[in-house]
């Protein structure tokens, strides 16, 4: 069964450092998303991406965050200067359609720890 894959599974970084989280969405999917989940809390929407541009972003997704689809398969989330409060599980998701009877498939997540 096709799946969304994320690397790395764990990332520890020092405050102020840049991190890039990588995702390979399902190959025929057109819509890509990043969500994050702070430990023990709900899953929060960060950004959606379609046709090589951001479709929508949340208040969390400030200037420190950026997304990119550098080639035909990868979808990345960059945090320019990490803060302690960026520590969370980051999930990438993809879907074939944007609305309607379509599910978003989630990757296994990258646990980011900022120290």
């Amino acid at each position: 069964e096709p799946e969304v894959t994320q690397t790395p599974s764990h990332q520890v970084t020092q405050m102020g450092q840049e991190v890039i989280l990588r995702c390979v969405p399902i190959s025929n999917h057109l819509y890509f998303y990043w969500y994050r989940q702070i430990l023990g809390q709900k899953v929060e929407f960060l950004v959606s991406f379609y046709n090589n541009e951001i479709s929508e972003k949340s208040e969390i997704f400030d200037d420190q965050f950026s997304v990119e689809r550098p080639d035909g398969s990868n979808f990345t989330l960059k945090i320019r200067s990490t803060k302690l409060e960026d520590s969370a599980m980051y999930f990438c998701a993809s879907s074939f359609l944007d609305r309607g009877n379509t599910e978003a498939f989630f990757g296994q997540g990258t646990r980011l720890t900022v120290v």
């Binding site: 998303y33 709900k42 309607g100 997540g109």
Partner: protein
């Protein structure tokens, strides 16, 4: 606005039933239900699109009351594998793309 789920947590014995509710203050286009086990990604259960729609997946079913902006997830004859945190994800009218706003979560623990 984040949908509110109730109850926050429920403990069941195998074979018992449970209902998880999801309420939104905004008009809903659709409701998605996910189950997340500890340390894992959310796993899709089902989508409900139309008001009054009901769906089933094995012994897990759901309904969507569009007028009341609510959805309920029904778990019947629960199994140990049903344990996890259940989230509803809502799409509101006027929202772009498949932007899911997840609910507060309901922790379900099924005991032998």
């Amino acid at each position: 606005q984040q949908p509110v789920q109730s109850p926050q947590a429920v403990i069941l014995r195998e074979g018992e039933d449970a209902v998880i509710n999801c309420s939104s203050s905004k008009a809903l286009y659709s409701v998605h239900w996910y189950r997340q086990k500890h340390g894992e990604a959310p796993v899709f259960l089902m989508i409900l699109l139309k008001g009054g729609e009901q769906k089933g997946h094995e012994k897990i079913s759901a309904s969507f009351n569009e007028k009341k902006q609510q959805s309920s997830l029904y778990l019947t004859a629960s199994q140990l594998s049903y344990s996890g945190t259940y989230f509803c994800g809502t799409e509101v009218y006027g929202g772009a793309t498949n932007k899911l706003i997840f609910g507060t979560g309901t922790l379900l623990a099924v005991q032998p």
